[in-house]
C-alpha cells in the first residue's frame, strides 16, 4: 500500500479522534454556545467599561506595580542563580552519584508541577502577607523551570572540552563551569529573559492570595466592579509588559551577538543589571514572621508527608481522579478552542500575507490579549457564564490565543513561500495555494506550539479554581487555607502525577512529530 495514502488516512483518523475528544471535553466542562451568545452582552459591557481608564487612579496603583516588578526581578534573579548551581547536579553528562542525580531530578519534577500561585500560598503562611512571599514563590518557580531547561541543555551540549579537562585531572565543578557551562550560556540567558517577562505577568496575580504586588488591588477592583480602575491597572500592566518585552528583545539580541557591543559596554550593562537586581532585592518588603510558629511548621510538614489517601480511593466529585479529569478537560477544550481561533487569526497577522497596517493592528490586539493576566480573564468570564468549568475553558482559550498567535506567526515568517509561488505561476487560486503549498510546512511547528501551550494550560487550569472557574485548584487552595495539609498533600500529589503524565505524553508526540 502506498505510504502517501496511508499517511493521509492516519492524519484523517487523528483529526477525527481529536474532534471526538474535544466534544467530550466540551460536554464535561459544560461548554454551551447558546449561553455564550445569550450572555455575551455582559462581556462587551465589561470591556467597554474598562475604557476610558481612570487616570486619577495611576498614583495609587503605581507603587504596587513597582512592587510587582520588584518581586519578579528578585525572584527571577535568585531562581536563576540557584538553577545555575543545581543544573549540573541533575545533568547526566556530569559525573556524580547516580542516586543523588535521580533524587535531584525528582525534586525538580515535583516543584515544576506547581504554578507560581499555588507556591505563593504556603509562602504566605511562612512569610506573612508580604511581597517577600511573592518573591519567594517566583524564586522557586523560576528555579524549577530553569533547572530543568538547563540540565536538558547540558546533556545535549558538546562535552569534548569538558571531558578533556576531566582527563587532565581537573575537579568536576571547575571543569563543568569552565568547559560545559559556556556552551549553554546563550540558551540559559535567553531562557532567563523569557522567564523575567513571563514572571511579571505571574507576579501581577500573586496578590490574589495575599503575596504582594498589584494583584490584590486588581482583584478588589474587579470584585467591586470599578472597571475604570481595573482599566487603569491593566494599562499600567500593558506598559510594563511591553517595556519588559522590549528590554528582553534588546538583551537577547546582545546575548545572541546580533547586536555588537564593546567589552566595556557589556561590562557597564552587566553592572547596571546587577545593581538593579540588588536594589530590587534589598528594598523588598521584609518577611512578616509574627504568625509563623514551630507548631504551624510541624503540622505543615507532617500533613504534607501523610497525604489523605481516601481522596484517591473515590471516583466521586471530590476525589482526586475526578478533579484531575476535569482539569484536563478544561485545559484540552481551552487549548483546542484557542488553537482554532488563532489559526483563523494568524493569517491576518503577518505582512507576508495581508497589507502591513492590517497585520500591525492584529498584532497589537494579540499583544493586548497576552498582557491581561489569565486570572483576570477568569474573573471577567465568571461574570458572563457564572461560576464553573465553562468560564475556565473560555479563560484558557483566550490566553492560548495570545501565545499561539505569536508562535504561529513566527512559523509563517520562517516558512518557504517559493512552492506556493510555483503553484501560483501554474494558475492555482489562493486557497489551494495556501492549503497545499504553505500548510504542509506549518503542520509541525504549529503542532509543537499547541502542545507546549497545552502543557502550560494544564498548569494554569489547576489555579482557575481560585476564581471559581473549576478544576483541582479550588479544593487545593481551600484545603491549604483550612490548614488541612493531609488533603492538600493528596491533591498536590495528584497535580504532580498529572504534570508527569503530560510530560511523558508530549515527549512521545514530539518524537512522532519530528
Amino acid at each position: 500500500m502506498a505510504a502517501s495514502e496511508h499517511r493521509q488516512r492516519r492524519r484523517l483518523l487523528s483529526a477525527l479522534v481529536l474532534t471526538v475528544l474535544f466534544l467530550l471535553a466540551c460536554r464535561m466542562t459544560g461548554v454551551s454556545l447558546p449561553l455564550l451568545v445569550r450572555r455575551g452582552g455582559h462581556l462587551t459591557d465589561i470591556v467597554s467599561r474598562l475604557f476610558p481608564p481612570d487616570a486619577a487612579f495611576f498614583p495609587t496603583a503605581l507603587p504596587l506595580l513597582g512592587a510587582t516588578i520588584q518581586m519578579s526581578v528578585t525572584g527571577t534573579a535568585l531562581g536563576s542563580l540557584l538553577a545555575l548551581l543545581a543544573a549540573p547536579l541533575c545533568a547526566r553528562s556530569v559525573p556524580g552519584p547516580r542516586f543523588l542525580k535521580k533524587l535531584a531530578r525528582g525534586c525538580i519534577q515535583v516543584l515544576r508541577s506547581f504554578p507560581a500561585l499555588i507556591l505563593a500560598l504556603p509562602a504566605t503562611f511562612l512569610f506573612g502577607l508580604t511581597s517577600f512571599s511573592g518573591a519567594a514563590a517566583i524564586t522557586v518557580y523560576t528555579f524549577a523551570i530553569l533547572t530543568r531547561l538547563t540540565y536538558e541543555d547540558l546533556e545535549t551540549a558538546p562535552d569534548a572540552a569538558f571531558r578533556a579537562l576531566l582527563a587532565m585531572g581537573s575537579p568536576v565543578p571547575s571543569a563543568c563551569f569552565r568547559a560545559l557551562m559556556p556552551a549553554v550560556r546563550p540558551a540559559f540567558l535567553t531562557n532567563v529573559l523569557y522567564l523575567l517577562e513571563a514572571n511579571v505577568r505571574h507576579s501581577a496575580i500573586l496578590g490574589y492570595v495575599g503575596a504582594g504586588g498589584i494583584g490584590l488591588l486588581l482583584n478588589e477592583k474587579v470584585s467591586w466592579r470599578e472597571y475604570d480602575k481595573v482599566g487603569a491597572i491593566l494599562v499600567l500592566l500593558f506598559a510594563a509588559v511591553f517595556l519588559m518585552e522590549r528590554l528582553g528583545d534588546l538583551l537577547s539580541a546582545v546575548v545572541r551577538g546580533a547586536r555588537p557591543m564593546r567589552r566595556s559596554g557589556r561590562r557597564i550593562l552587566a553592572a547596571a543589571l546587577a545593581a538593579a537586581v540588588i536594589l530590587c532585592t534589598v528594598t523588598l518588603q521584609p518577611p512578616d514572621l509574627s504568625h509563623t510558629s514551630p507548631a504551624l511548621l510541624r503540622s505543615m510538614v507532617s500533613g504534607l508527608l501523610h497525604p489523605d489517601w481516601s481522596l484517591f480511593a473515590t471516583l466521586g466529585g471530590d476525589g482526586v481522579w475526578h478533579l484531575l479529569l476535569e482539569t484536563v478537560a478544561i485545559a484540552f477544550a481551552g487549548t483546542c478552542a484557542g488553537a482554532a481561533v488563532s489559526l483563523a487569526m494568524v493569517f491576518f497577522s503577518t505582512p507576508r500575507l495581508v497589507p502591513r497596517p492590517l497585520a500591525a493592528a492584529v498584532n497589537l490586539a494579540v499583544l493586548a490579549i497576552r498582557t491581561v493576566p489569565f486570572l483576570i480573564y477568569g474573573l471577567i468570564f465568571i461574570r458572563v457564564t457564572g461560576p464553573g468549568s465553562f468560564a475556565g475553558v473560555l479563560t484558557l482559550a483566550m490566553c492560548s490565543v495570545g501565545l499561539l498567535c505569536k508562535r504561529f506567526a513566527q512559523a509563517i515568517d520562517a516558512a518557504d513561500f517559493r512552492p506556493a509561488e510555483a503553484l501560483k505561476s501554474m494558475g492555482t487560486s489562493w486557497l489551494p495555494r495556501l492549503a497545499r503549498g504553505l500548510l504542509p510546512q506549518l503542520r509541525a511547528p504549529f503542532a509543537s506550539a499547541v502542545l507546549y501551550r497545552f502543557d502550560v494550560n494544564i498548569r494554569e487550569a489547576s489555579v482557575l479554581g481560585l476564581v471559581g472557574a473549576g478544576g483541582i485548584g479550588a479544593p487545593l487552595v481551600f484545603a491549604m487555607n483550612q490548614y488541612a495539609w493531609d488533603k492538600a498533600s493528596a491533591l498536590a500529589l495528584g497535580l504532580v502525577l498529572l504534570a508527569w503524565l503530560v510530560d511523558a505524553v508530549s515527549a512521545r508526540v514530539r518524537v512522532h512529530l519530528s
Partner: protein, 261 residues
C-alpha cells in the same frame, strides 16, 4: 523527432518585449523572437543580462512594460486575471531551487499540479480523483522515482528533487516547458542526467522546452537553438554551431570568450 513542419502560427512569439522596473532599471529592451512547437531553446548570457526577467515574464510572474507576448496567438504578456491564468495552465515550469513542498511526499507534490483545474475547496482539501493519482504515479515512474512516491521530498537528493519537479510540470501536460537554471544547483553528472531526461521527454511528447542557463557547455550540447542576451537585448539567435568566437564575445563580453567552452 516529431517536429511539426506544418504548424501555422508560432507557438510562442515575443514582439518587442521590454521591461523597466519602477527603480528605473531597464532589464529587457526590444526582445523579439518566435518559437516553433518542439524546439529546445536555451537562453544564455552573463549574470544581469535579463535571463531571469525574461523567464518571469514568460511564466506570468511579471508583466512586460513594452511589447507583447503571444502564446499560441493569444496575447498574455500584459494580460491579467483569468486570461493570464488560462495561459499559465498550459505552461509547465521547473526552477533552479525546485520550489517543492519539502514536508510533503513526492506523490503529493506531483498531484499539486492538478490544483489549477480543480474547485478551490476540493483542491485545498486534497481530494484527488483516482485517475489523477494514477497519472501522477505514472509520471513519477517515468522520471525514475516510482519507488519514492511516499517519501518526503526533504529526504531526497538534489537530482531526485528536480525529477519530482519535472514530474509535477509534466502533470500539466504542457505544450511549453520553461526551465529556469534547472541544473545550476546540481553536480555536473546529475545535471547532465536531468537534461538527458528532459531531452527524452521532448522526444516522446513533442513539448517545447525553453531553458535559462549559464552553463554554456550543457546549453550547447542539448539545445537546438541558442538565444544570447546581453544588457537586456538579443545579441545572438541561432543554432549552437553558429556560436563562434565573435558571437561569444558579443554575448559574454571580453573575458567570456575563453570561458567554459
Amino acid at each position: 523527432m516529431p517536429e511539426n513542419e506544418g504548424y501555422a502560427i508560432a507557438q510562442l512569439e515575443l514582439r518587442g518585449v521590454g521591461k523597466t522596473y519602477p527603480s528605473g532599471t531597464r532589464a529587457l529592451r526590444d526582445v523579439s523572437f518566435s518559437l516553433e512547437q518542439g524546439t529546445f531553446l536555451s537562453v544564455i548570457g552573463p549574470s544581469g543580462a535579463g535571463k531571469t526577467t525574461l523567464f518571469r515574464i514568460l511564466n506570468g510572474t511579471e508583466r512586460c512594460s513594452a511589447g507583447e507576448v503571444l502564446y499560441q496567438g493569444i496575447p498574455f504578456g500584459s494580460a491579467g486575471g483569468r486570461r493570464k491564468r488560462a495561459v499559465q495552465k498550459g505552461i509547465g515550469t521547473i526552477y533552479q531551487d525546485f520550489c517543492l513542498v519539502e514536508q510533503a511526499d513526492c506523490l503529493q507534490n506531483v498531484l499539486n499540479a492538478a490544483l489549477p483545474d480543480m474547485h478551490p475547496l476540493t483542491g485545498a482539501l486534497g481530494i484527488f480523483s483516482r485517475q489523477q493519482r494514477l497519472e501522477a504515479e505514472a509520471l513519477l515512474e517515468r522520471v525514475g522515482l516510482g519507488d519514492k512516491r511516499g517519501t518526503c521530498v526533504r529526504e531526497l537528493s538534489g537530482g531526485q528533487k528536480q525529477r519530482v519537479a519535472i514530474a509535477r510540470a509534466l502533470m500539466r501536460r504542457p505544450a511549453l516547458l520553461l526551465a529556469d537554471e534547472p541544473v545550476a544547483s546540481l553536480d555536473p553528472v546529475t545535471g547532465r542526467q536531468v537534461l538527458e531526461l528532459l531531452r527524452d521527454i521532448q522526444a516522446e511528447t513533442g513539448v517545447t522546452i525553453l531553458m535559462n542557463s549559464h552553463n554554456l557547455e550543457l546549453a550547447r550540447a542539448f539545445s537546438r537553438r541558442l538565444l544570447g542576451l546581453h544588457g537586456g537585448a538579443v545579441v545572438f539567435d541561432g543554432p549552437p554551431e553558429a556560436l563562434d568566437d565573435a558571437a561569444l564575445q558579443a554575448v559574454y563580453g571580453e573575458e567570456g570568450a575563453c570561458g567554459s567552452v
